[in-house]
């Protein structure tokens, strides 16, 4: 069938190829609450790179992921890419063309079994190969939880450094997508940040995704790379074609400000970008926006430095509030910046419920909820 399917994609009108997953749900199209097909709860504003970065190409997030995987496969002959349905290009098109280019032994489908995928990847890495595993949705990473937490994270420590699985990277689409409901929307990063030995990384756009994914693949520790799936097609940037890496464990100050520090990651960064603008326009408040980028290990210094300056902190993430990663940031910053804080640290997050289907607009920590929190911080 795969051959037939490929043909299908070739002859389809452009309109269909552009919207394979996110907007092809019949339910969504007839949705009364959200009748605009391309409505998202944020506006994506592309980043740019300096001209010194050389030639660039227009890529959306999934294409920049493919580009990173392509570079990883070509620069390391031991590297392999595997998971459910990756051979024909992946359900989100992140691996399109890679099997044709690198062969079936390097880009291949596995049986439908997440604990197997993770265990298999750990084994490959232990034997000295570079393993890039895909979990089809972050929601389905839990069957692999044991392998990732008890095995991958502890491999180096428990063997006294004799063995490690540092060349393992696990990619998984995460986050809200408009209609993903309970099992196509989750942001499970906090489950993993409680686990010493892993690295957890979430990019906010194509330029960042490419550099961070290459860093993860080449980092000497097992990395989990969560890709905000709503950005796969929506986020388009001019991405450098060269092989480049963005350091892990470093937050990025996207916009400087004086009154409030806003911290987010992934999709939420774009929500907070709009909040910065709203706060400026409506409240005359200047916000400093930080993309955390690496959730584990995380860059406490950059945030502490910012909060020392602004005296106010808002953390926003899609995952539920209780024990979400915002709690870790809040507790640590409270400890670091106690004398500088002008107001209690605010967290705007998903509610402490499973991720709902029809109620998504009310569930996500959108710009209006974040703006209210900014008001609260300012008026405290």
């Amino acid at each position: 069938m795969a051959a037939v399917r490929k043909g299908v994609f070739d002859v389809l009108p452009k309109y269909w190829r552009k919207n394979s997953f996110i907007y092809s749900l019949p339910l969504y199209r007839s949705c009364i609450v959200l009748n605009k097909r391309f409505s998202a709860h944020f506006t994506f504003v592309p980043d740019t790179v300096p001209a010194s970065d050389g030639e660039t190409s227009r890529m959306n997030l999934f294409q920049s992921i493919t580009n990173a995987l392509d570079i990883a496969l070509s620069s390391d002959t031991t590297a392999v890419v595997f998971g459910e349905d990756v051979a024909f290009g992946g359900v989100f098109r992140c691996t399109v063309g890679l099997q044709d280019k690198y062969g079936k032994d390097r880009v291949f489908n596995t049986p439908l079994c997440e604990q197997g995928i993770a265990g298999f990847g750990i084994g490959m890495a232990t034997a000295g190969a570079t393993a890039v595993a895909e979990i089809q949705f972050a929601d389905y990473i839990f069957p692999a939880f044991d392998q990732l937490v008890n095995e991958a994270a502890k491999f180096r420590y428990r063997s006294g450094g004799m063995f490690d699985c540092g060349s393992l990277t696990v990619r998984a689409p995460c986050g809200a997508v408009g209609h993903g409901a309970l099992y196509h929307s989750q942001s499970p990063e906090a489950f993993f940040t409680h686990c010493p030995g892993l690295k957890v990384v979430i990019p906010r756009g194509p330029i960042q995704a490419k550099g961070l994914l290459l860093s993860c693949i080449r980092d000497k520790n097992p990395c989990i790379f969560f890709e905000p799936k709503i950005l796969y097609r929506l986020a388009v940037e001019q991405v450098p074609l060269k092989d480049y890496e963005i350091p892990l464990g470093k937050a990025e100050v996207i916009q400087e400000g004086d009154h409030v520090t806003l911290v987010g990651w992934g999709t939420q960064v774009h929500v907070l970008k709009e909040v910065c603008q709203l706060a400026q326009d409506k409240l005359n408040v200047s916000c400093e926006l930080i993309d955390l980028v690496s959730i584990l290990p995380w860059d406490k210094d950059t945030i502490a430095k910012s909060v020392t300056k602004t005296g106010r902190l808002l953390i926003a993430h899609e995952a539920p509030l209780t024990s979400g990663f915002g709690a870790e940031i809040a507790a640590s910053i409270q400890n670091e910046c106690f004398l500088h804080l002008e107001a209690p640290i605010q967290r705007v997050t998903g509610y402490d419920t499973p991720f709902p289907h029809i109620f998504e607009p009310f569930y996500i920590p959108d710009k209006w909820r974040c703006l209210e929190a900014v008001k609260k911080l300012i008026n405290y």
Partner: protein, 449 residues
């Protein structure tokens, strides 16, 4: 697990694409019958015309039947147990004798008995509170030495925890065993894991971890890497029949088959998982019978017959490396010792049962008989060797016990390849705390660095 049907469909093709696909498929006329052409197409092949009427479902190859009949699990006698010698160590069929030379057999026998002596002394030492935990290998020494001797020393080993004999065969010293159990400064694992969680980079033995069966899909991944590296090696993965009930065992067998990995799955079926007997562990014909359903060549062997284990492992290795295919070996044996020092097995099985295996069918006595039959071993040698092993083990034991523990900062190293900021902070915090409260901690047992 991965995706509900409706959702998956919507990912790949909308209704419009489906209609298109249907049209595309409808181009092929529907013949009366088909057969699969074994081309290397990416997915299912297009069925082709053939003489006989056969089902063409992509999910299986079979024939039609008009008789309603369930496949019953007990329609056959069970997979036979391959053996080379009888319980008296006599070769049953001379064509099956591996003809191992005296030197190798002596090394095997001495290893098995040395392991047995080490087990006794370390078990006792736990009983005296000198180490925190121990697990003996009683009754399963044959599976370790028989299989290890048949492998290339560069073949990678993934174990469960009752395979110390494999390490011993490869040259892990008594000193190294003891250092690990004591977690002293010489332990490769830096004292971080419980006793018997051995590992060795030089001997290609991946460090043991407690979670059961996790090593199984890992062994498959390592085997896949070996296949790509074309290094002519295979991976062997040991596990018990209890661990085979874990989901990871299913994952491993299926991945190994579909991805054609040169891995030997070696199951030690010793009748118990702690207190759970096999009739509460599975209802099929043990573990070996599962192999064929995954498409894996499988065999069952007498685990107390070291020579049979050797033959089977040697043949399995050949199959693995020549054909890049997995093999499943189920070695039938009996766990003579308690599960661990935290277990009293008399609570769930009779002493008589244990005695039977200890006296009537023990891998060590069977190999000894074989050696004696060849005139390579005698009572005099036995007596001297017993004393020798005891002396060796006691000496090493005393040395390991005296050694200091690793530096305290090793508690926080190796979490990552480089120490992140949070751990640097925490190391500092710990050091400051210990300076203030030295008296309340056993700091003198640890070396300074």
């Amino acid at each position: 697990m991965a995706i509900c049907g409706m959702f998956r469909r919507s990912l790949l093709y909308s209704r419009r694409i489906e209609r298109f696909l249907l049209k595309k498929i409808a181009i092929y006329p529907l013949p009366i019958s088909y057969r699969y052409e074994n081309t290397s197409g990416p997915a299912q092949q297009i069925p082709k015309l053939e003489e006989t009427d056969r089902p063409v479902f992509p999910g299986s190859r079979s024939r039609w039947t008009e008789k309603l009949e369930f496949i019953q699990p007990d329609t056959y006698d069970g997979i036979p147990v391959y053996r080379v010698t009888n319980r008296d160590g006599k070769i049953i069929n001379s064509s099956e004798d591996p003809q191992l030379d005296r030197e190798i057999l002596t090394k095997m026998y001495q290893g098995m008995t040395l392991l047995n002596t080490m087990d006794r002394i370390l078990y006792e030492s736990q009983r005296q509170g000198r180490i925190s935990f121990y697990m003996t290998n009683y009754g399963e020494e044959g599976t370790h030495f028989g299989s290890a001797a048949a492998l290339n020393p560069k073949d990678l080993v993934f174990g469960q925890y009752r395979e110390a004999g494999v390490l011993m065969w490869r040259g892990f010293t008594l000193d190294q065993f003891m250092n690990q159990c004591y977690g002293n400064q010489e332990d490769f694992g830096k004292g971080r894991q419980m006793p018997v969680h051995y590992g060795s980079r030089d001997l290609n033995f991946i460090t043991i971890s407690s979670p059961l069966a996790t090593q199984m899909p890992q062994a498959v991944g390592a085997a896949y890497a070996f296949k790509r590296a074309q290094n002519g090696l295979c991976v062997i993965c040991y596990f018990g029949e209890g661990a085979a009930s874990e989901g990871d065992a299913h994952a491993a067998l299926n991945f190994a088959a579909t991805l054609d990995c040169p891995v030997i799955f070696f199951c030690r079926n010793n009748g118990y998982a702690i207190s759970t007997p096999t009739n509460e562990q599975y209802r099929g014909d043990g573990i070996a019978s599962r192999g064929p359903s995954y498409g894996i060549a499988s065999i069952r062997v007498d685990g107390n017959d070291t020579l049979a284990v050797y033959n089977v492992t040697k043949a399995a290795r050949e199959l693995c490396v020549m054909e890049n295919k997995p093999v499943l070996i189920e070695a039938m044996t009996y766990r003579i010792g308690h599960h661990s020092t935290s277990d009293d097995s008399t609570a769930y099985r009779s002493v008589d049962e244990v005695r039977f295996w200890h006296q009537k069918d023990h891998p060590i006595s069977r190999l000894r008989q074989y050696m004696m039959n060849h005139g390579w071993w005698d009572d005099e040698k036995e007596k001297n060797w017993k004393e020798e092993t005891k002396k060796q083990v006691m000496q090493v034991f005393a040395r390991a016990e005296k050694r200091k523990k690793p530096p305290i900062r090793d508690m926080l190293t190796d979490v990552y390849d480089e120490m992140p900021a949070n751990l640097q902070e925490q190391i500092e915090e710990l050091e400051n705390h210990l300076q203030l409260h030295k008296d309340h901690y056993p700091v003198n047992a640890f070396i300074e660095k």
